[in-house]
Amino acid sequence: MSDYILNPDLFSDDVKQEPIRAGFGRGLKAAGEANEMVIALCADLTDSTQMSLFKEAFPNRFVEVGVAEQNLVTLGSGFARAGKIPFVSSYAAFSPGRNWEQIRTTIALNNQPVKIVGSHAGLYTGADGATHQMLEDITLMRVLPNMVVIVPGDSLEADKATRLLAENGKPSYLRLTREKTPIISTDESPFEIGKAYVLREGTDISLMGTGTMTYQLLAAANILAEQGINAEVVHVPTIKPLDNETIVASARRTGRVLTAEEGQIKGGFGGAVAELLSEQLPTPVKRVGMQDRFGESGTPAELLDYFGLTPEKIAETTKDFINNTAQYHRDY
């Protein structure tokens, strides 16, 4: 069990909610105060991506790029060569959606510490529909050598992650969500790049989540507990480098793994966990997320329900999985 401290009000009706991107906005300003090399570039979405706070505090260190995502990241590469630590933001659908090759060549292969911030990722982008619901960004970014990939579970983690990324010296991707989501952690909760956290211990299955899905898994674990199923919940905010040790140890304890993400399960977070376990500890894995299809317009609640990502739906999927799958490794 890690020393992670969950928000004590997490399951109350008035749990505090905040968009994950708001934490990024605060973290970026703090990072800018701590290190004058930190700069920010945005592609005509400064309020949406929450770079406004930084822009107001450091107008000379903010650069407006216009609607030009290829230029956004390649400028970032040039600024990094000049010694800066550039955070470059847009919607995830456009960056890294549109400019992946530029990221690959001028940032990842070139190994420059540009911080690519993709906001409005996942189904929570809701009514804008499939074009704007970026579901492939985790996959796109985690296959790039040198790249660090972070998907915070709430706004507090986004704040911490942003400040850490400013100092990690590496090409990095930070995935953000638009809508308010419950705050699962506290200011005192630990957050390290490359660490996964066991939020709840269990014996029957490990529910592993990234980003907004961790909250859904914690709620699903409550439902399952009422039905006599003891689920472990593992929060994995760093997709790359993956915390192999924590994930394998949890799989060894429970013998079954379910992953959940607001994105394509193929090549995404679930793909990463399945790759790891198939090599180090073959374990049955059920991946919950987008099943090789695009999203569509709707409220986040409607979409999460339709695509099976609510606590109730995840609990159902978990029970089916447990009923149909032997438990491996229990007694190792």
């Binding site: 290829q70 390649t74 400028l75 990094a80 060569r81 060549t105 001028t106």
Partner: protein, 289 residues
């Protein structure tokens, strides 16, 4: 490096660089011939007159920055860097070979003195703009410049025009960009594949100061860069008309030589052409063996 060599000494440097390009490509067995040969005079001017750098201290903080956007022309940069003392000339023959620092397309982390990694076209001008913006608006640096070389076929890429717009808006006067206007790209003549003209008018409308020169005339290259440095309210682009394959008559103007390396017989012939001004003189000069 400013002002140390005479024009005829610079021309000799360009000759050596061309011969080295032929040798490298022959040894590699693949690579691009026409562009690097056409660019030899511009690179000679850059590395032996225009730019400030220290080959023994590649990260010297007062250096000028050079970015190659069309990474496939890297043989000419490797040849110029070796001639300028960044590394031993023998290493040129490792081009494109396993374990070499001289990758087929340039990788910054492999070879000190490279400022970027390129190959996929269209991203060099943006990197120049990022660096130049940092100099001009964040670091208060006045004495350093960012030189970037682009191909003309490369201008088909939208990323270039995003960068052109950005540099124009921000009046990034520390950028001095060269366009290697040799009129060829892989599928044929640039004006057939995707017309670029009115090229001068395009750049002017984006807020750039445009200079057109004979890019195979070293003095013209030096003069144009000097004008570019003197212009403080706009970025400068130098449309450098070059002859693809310059110096080797059977390669000149022929787009088929864009992405092909000479075999040993062709290389021997090419070296002979270079040393005899394509047969106009009988005496072969003293190239590096």
């Amino acid at each position: 490096m400013s002002g140390q060599l005479t024009t005829s000494q610079l021309q000799q440097k360009a000759e050596i660089i061309r011969e080295d390009i032929i040798r490298m490509l022959e040894a590699a067995g693949s690579g691009h011939s026409a562009g690097p040969l056409g660019l030899a005079d511009i690179f000679t001017a850059l590395y032996f007159n225009i730019m400030n750098f220290d080959p023994k201290n590649p990260d010297w903080e007062d250096r000028d920055i050079f970015l190659l956007s069309n990474g496939h022309c890297i043989p000419v940069q490797y040849a110029a860097m070796a001639e300028a003392g960044f590394f031993d000339k023998e290493e040129l023959l490792t081009l494109r070979k396993f374990g070499s620092r001289l990758q087929g397309h340039p990788e910054r982390e492999r070879l000190p003195g490279l400022e970027n990694t390129s190959g996929p076209l269209g991203s060099g001008l943006s990197q120049a703009a990022g660096y130049a913006y940092s100099m001009q608006y964040m670091d208060d640096i006045k004495h350093r410049f960012v030189y970037v070389v682009m191909g003309d076929g490369e201008l088909d890429e939208g990323n270039i025009w995003e960068a052109a717009m950005f540099a124009g808006k921000n009046k990034l006067s520390h950028i001095i960009a060269f366009i290697d206007r040799n009129n060829i790209q892989i599928d044929g003549n640039t004006e057939d594949v995707m017309p670029l003209e009115d090229l001068k008018g395009k750049w002017e409308s984006f807020g750039w100061h445009v200079i057109e020169i004979d890019g195979n005339n070293i003095e013209s290259v030096i003069d144009a860069a000097s004008i570019g440095r003197a212009i403080t309210n706009r970025p400068t682009v130098i449309i450098a008309h070059t002859i693809p394959g310059k110096g080797v008559d059977f390669m000149e103007y022929d787009y088929h030589w864009h992405g092909v390396a000479p075999n040993s017989e062709q290389a021997k012939d090419a070296l002979h052409k270079l040393r005899t001004l394509n047969g106009k003189i009988t005496h072969e000069g003293q190239g590096v063996q």
